[in-house]
Amino acid sequence: MKTRQVGDKESLFHFWGRYLQKVATGLVSLLSGMGVTIRYFVSPDKIITQQYPENRENLQMMARFRGHLAMIHDENNQHRCTGCGICEKACPNGTISVLTAKDLAGRKVLGRYIYRLSQCTLCNLCIESCPFGAISMGRDFELATYDRQQLTFILNKTQGGK
């Protein structure tokens, strides 16, 4: 569309020609736009909504999804954490408190592993830094609560060592 300099005399015929041409192209662009949306309207197979509460059974999180921190326990509730505290140092937000105790043999063992999900940013640095592979990312996401205190978990079920 040639850009018109202000003031140059344009014959009425040119003006109407440009005017109708603009109306025509405008209408064609509007109709083709409507064509796109009607295609979505008439083809319900293009709907991509995953109905969350209804599809709860077969809703599978990805393998590496980072929902919250969890401590790996084998069948008789033993975990591999030795209370070394490397993950506590690696965490940028002070989310993890590794509280150690002495077991009968006088060895430093894990007493309580406090994990504050309210502060955790799920950055995965603790898991990468753990030399014993004791912690991993749990994959459930339904963790909403009514009060803040319920977001502080104690991850280890039993005290380490004997």
């Binding site: 709907i47 991509i48 909504t49 995953q50 109905q51 969350y52 509460p53 809703l59 929902g67 919250h68 591999r80 030795t82 506590e88 140092k89 940028p92 937000n93 002070g94 408190s97 509280l99 105790a101 002495k102 009968l104 043999a105 006088g106 060895r107 007493g111 309580r112 406090i114 504050r116 999900l117 309210s118 502060q119 955790c120 940013t121 799920l122 753990c130 030399p131 014993f132 592979g133 996401f141 339904e142 963790l143 909403a144 609560t145 009514y146 009060d147 803040r148 977001l151 060592g161």
Partner: protein, 412 residues
């Protein structure tokens, strides 16, 4: 039911109606209906400060579609919204606005704290001077959705939790404005450690007896050695320095020295094109100049056609404890080379003249340096703080900045 403030009235209504034969059942059915209506038509306010807002938007998008829950008509005005999702970090300057927004919303209003920032300050828990550690220190929060950012499904689960809470409302527990958290902001991490240590001390003496007995029974007990995770070993790779375009450092230095003989190189005692050459192609020329010649050098770098430096990257500062360094970083879009320029400023009288008349973009950068370092730029058209409130005590990015009331030091 009834407006939060007028809960007294609902009790009177309840007594009157209870005497009628069908009264209780009538009131209960109305309560159930209204609670059902409120639960199923939560209109969220268009409010989102940071990353969680993106997940809130994708919760509203086609794949997760919170319109299925009746949470669709996201209203921009607080008057027509009855749910505010705190999606993102709440900063002190935004706090007052958030409270006014909450007060502008009509009575039965609900708040979802989404993401670690809104629950407890999350990644900005330690060492930040401007973040409010948790939304419930400002407005009462109904549901906390943890995550950083939480998945859209997690937000939908939070909304369903909120709907459960609303359905239980009625005469017995009418909607009331919730409580705001008043407990002073304290470092929970070191608090938990002290608590545990005191608890350990108490158990220490009888623990020692048990340990002595155990050592007596099996003296040669060898604790099992924890086996370490076998981590994948990778070979160290030599780094291929990327190809640099534009003038090489020696030629740049020569060009600058011709016009400004007493220009110096930062932390390089003697400056000859030869020594600069062996600093390698990746080294970006880091000039140092006195405050009086500083604007002229910047003007020279910009006007000199042959050098072709035309883009101002940024103006920033570094606090070296005894003095400041104001840095200007320039770039040539035509040729691709970069030049850094720094000018020392004394701590007692932090004053330097502005270059916003040469590069218009420097205006905001200099306001930011003034805001965070306290270095004034004489001749600046609008010398005001850019990020913080005007009455903020002190300049945060200085090394000696301490504000115990706002900042919690990182314990480790």
């Amino acid at each position: 039911m009834g407006v939060g403030g007028a809960s007294g009235a609902t009790e009177q209504v309840a007594e009157i109606l209870d005497k009628f034969p069908g009264g209780i059942r009538l009131v209960d059915s109305i309560e159930y209906l209204v609670a059902w209506a409120r639960a199923n038509s939560l209109w969220p306010l268009v409010y989102g400060t940071a990353c969680c807002a993106m997940e809130m938007m994708s919760a509203g998008s086609s794949r997760h579609d919170w319109a299925r829950f009746g949470v669709e008509v996201a209203r921009a005005t607080p008057r027509q919204a009855d749910l505010i999702v705190l999606a993102g970090t709440i900063v002190e300057k935004m706090g007052t606005n958030l409270v006014t927004l909450y007060e502008q919303m009509p009575a039965p209003k609900y708040v979802i704290a989404m993401g670690s920032c809104a629950i407890s300050g999350g990644p900005f828990y330690y060492d930040t001077y401007s973040v409010i550690k948790g939304g419930d220190r400002l407005i009462p929060v109904d549901v906390y959705v943890p995550g950083c950012p939480p998945r859209p499904e997690a937000l939908l689960y939070g909304i369903m939790e909120l709907q459960e809470k609303i359905r239980k409302e009625g005469r017995r527990n009418p909607w009331k404005v919730g409580k705001v958290l008043e407990t002073p902001f304290v470092d929970t991490h070191s608090l938990a450690k002290q608590e545990w240590l005191t608890q350990e001390e108490k158990k220490e003496d009888e623990q020692r007896l048990a340990r002595a007995r155990f050592k007596a029974e099996n003296p040669d007990y060898k604790p099992a050695k924890p086996q370490r995770l076998a981590k994948e070993k990778f070979a160290a790779m030599p780094r291929i320095p990327p190809r640099k375009s534009g003038f090489t450092n020696p030629s740049l230095l020569a060009a600058v020295q011709r016009a400004f003989p007493e220009v110096a190189l930062f932390r390089q005692p003697e400056i000859t094109p030869a020594t600069v050459a062996d600093l390698g192609p990746e080294y970006i020329l880091d000039l140092e100049i006195g405050p009086e010649q500083y604007p002229d050098l910047v003007r020279f770098l910009k006007e000199d056609q042959e050098l072709g430096i035309d883009l101002l990257l940024q103006v920033t500062a570094v606090d070296w404890q005894d003095h400041f360094d104001v840095l200007v970083q320039l770039l040539s879009t035509r040729l691709g080379h970069k030049v850094f320029l720094r000018c020392p400023v004394s701590k007692e009288q932090p004053e330097i003249n502005t270059i916003s008349d040469i590069f218009r973009g420097a205006e905001w950068h200099e306001r930011e340096v003034f805001d965070l370092f306290g270095i004034r730029f004489s001749g600046h058209p609008d010398m005001r703080r850019i990020f913080l409130l005007d009455d903020f005590p002190g300049y945060p990015l200085r090394k000696d900045f301490a504000d115990p009331e706002r900042v919690v030091k990182r314990p480790y």
